[in-house]
């Protein structure tokens, strides 16, 4: 009997995600017809996730551990709604803040100012909200006078700093992280680390993917271990990380 203390914010119910790995990529109509007529349309079904069920309660800090290709990032993408599962259901209560691939919505010919509004709106913020956070974003990103310069003339560090500042301008309810974010030079990295720490304070719910069990132990209180798309175990972070590390040593 499981006793649920907090409110459940994320439910992953028996979720499976299938990809069709065609041996050769077919993306022309002619090719498709020829292969179809020759009955050469071989698709190799590949389940990136299969029968995965988990629950995340409000305030949980869940770390996802597993090898490359275990399905960790796929699971994050499913939870953030970017992909729909082939099987099963996912329900999320509360506002998600996925900090994945920062700056994906930036337009290089747009100025910094315009990009703040564009990227902010892509993250689902209203005009009023972005305006109220505007000064804070500009100040935190330290881009100064470059705010009215097109992004394509920025150094790569400046673009990353701006993206980080916009993405972290809002106090999230559910934070989704793929590795710890640190951008820019040493000074800014320290600043962004502090900002991340402040975001993780309070009763924010965290989903965190990392290769390093050290980081997972530091940030999370629960962990989920995925292996080849299957959920091996879930529970308190130390327990899961211990058995995962043992498994890794055995493999070597």
């Amino acid at each position: 009997m499981v006793i649920i203390l907090g409110e459940t914010v994320i439910t992953v119910d028996n979720v499976g995600m299938e990809f069709n790995l065609s041996q050769e990529k077919i993306d022309s109509l002619k090719e498709y017809f020829i292969k179809f007529l020759k009955r050469e349309l071989h698709f190799q079904p590949f389940w990136a996730l299969k029968n995965v069920s988990m629950m995340v309660e409000k305030g949980d800090r869940v770390g996802l551990v597993g090898l490359n290709g275990a399905g960790k990032s796929t699971l994050l993408k499913l939870i953030s709604g970017v992909m729909k599962p082939t099987e099963g259901q996912i329900t999320v209560k509360g506002r998600l803040s996925p900090l994945l691939a920062l700056g994906a919505g930036f337009d290089p010919s747009y100025t910094g100012r315009e990009n703040i509004f564009l990227y902010g709106s892509l993250m689902g913020h209203s005009k009023r909200f972005i305006e109220s956070k505007f000064d804070e974003i500009v100040e935190f990103s330290e881009i100064g006078d470059f705010i009215d310069v097109p992004l394509k003339n920025y150094s790569s560090g400046m673009g990353a700093r701006l993206a980080f500042s916009i993405a972290t301008a809002v106090q999230p309810e559910i934070l989704i992280l793929d590795e710890v974010l640190s951008v820019g030079d040493a000074k800014f990295q320290e600043k962004s680390r502090q900002k991340m720490n402040s975001l993780m304070e309070g009763d924010v719910t965290i989903l965190f993917v990392s290769h390093s069990t050290d980081q997972v132990r530091k940030i999370c209180d629960k962990a989920v271990w995925l292996h080849h798309g299957k959920l091996i175990d879930q529970g308190p972070v130390d327990e899961i990380c211990d058995s995962y590390e043992k498994f890794m040593q055995l493999k070597e």
């Binding site: 990809f19 069709n20 993306d27 022309s28 109509l29 002619k30 498709y32 953030s80 709604g81 970017v82 992909m83 729909k84 996925p98 994945l100 691939a101 994906a104 919505g105 337009d107 010919s109 747009y110 315009e114 509004f117 564009l118 709106s121 892509l122 993250m123 689902g124 913020h125 209203s126 005009k127």
Partner: protein, 252 residues
């Protein structure tokens, strides 16, 4: 649909399309006027003596060309909107129809601006401004519905078969020559007139010509056919798009 939540984002995406189109050009948005004006002058010089039975060739040509250009530009932009925004599609969840819709709306804004050129040319060529001009809003609405519907269909198809971009270019060229835009409808032999009868774009153009050029009420049958085609295209477009949109991400 929770359209309201994404209104600001749609606004931003439309603005981006329009801004970037004319960025770094000296005359900027004025090209929305100058482009149709330029093409009208060229075509008038080339064809007005050849088709001298057309009264007021400049206005005849502009009504047809502006409607065609909106349809072609809108559907083309919608078709490319999924693949073009692939990087955002893969990282942030946003209803995907917004990308297609914003591409069409930005073309629609350009279309509305270019109507100013039409009015200017009408004034210069002594066309009577009648109250029937207001009636043009109905065929224009039909044109918008038709473009959104066709755009959603093309966006879906293009995700799975990139060949569509090239095929559709050829189709649009065919459409331009099959639709009496710069030649009188009567020069087409009787046995091929059915092409005009089943061409919703031509029905729309005829309604517009009645309203703008001839100052009469349009043929109701034309309007009904145009409206009906627009609604049917929209319904099919929404149906297909919603049916396949969850698989887009695996193919873009």
């Amino acid at each position: 649909m929770n359209f309201n939540k994404y209104r600001y984002l749609l606004n931003q995406l439309v603005k981006r399309d329009i801004k970037l189109k004319y960025r770094r050009s000296v005359l900027g948005i004025f090209w929305s006027f100058l482009e149709p004006l330029g093409s009208m002058i060229v075509l008038t010089i080339v064809f007005s003596t050849l088709f001298n039975r057309i009264e007021n060739f400049p206005v005849y040509y502009l009504t047809g060309m502006l409607a065609y250009q909106f349809f072609a530009g809108g559907t083309n932009a919608a078709m490319r909107s999924m693949v073009g925004n692939a990087s955002i599609l893969k990282t942030i969840y946003i209803p995907k129809y917004l990308y297609s819709l914003s591409a069409i709306i930005s073309n629609f804004v350009t279309f509305l601006l270019s109507l100013i050129v039409l009015f200017m040319v009408m004034a210069v060529t002594n066309v009577n401004f009648t109250m029937y001009i207001i009636f043009a809003s109905l065929p224009i609405l039909a044109l918008l519905l038709l473009t959104i519907g066709a755009g959603l269909i093309m966006a879906t198809v293009n995700v799975f078969f990139r060949d569509m971009q090239y095929l559709y270019g050829i189709f649009l060229m065919m459409l331009m020559y099959l639709t009496p835009i710069f030649y009188p409808a009567e020069i087409v032999p009787e046995s091929f007139r059915f092409i005009q009868d089943y061409n919703p774009l031509f029905a729309i153009i005829q309604c517009c010509r009645s309203s703008f050029l001839y100052g009469t009420l349009y043929n109701m049958q034309d309007l009904l056919f145009a409206m009906g085609s627009g609604v049917v295209a929209l319904v099919i477009g929404i149906f297909i798009f919603y049916k396949y949109q969850d698989r887009f991400i695996l193919y873009v």
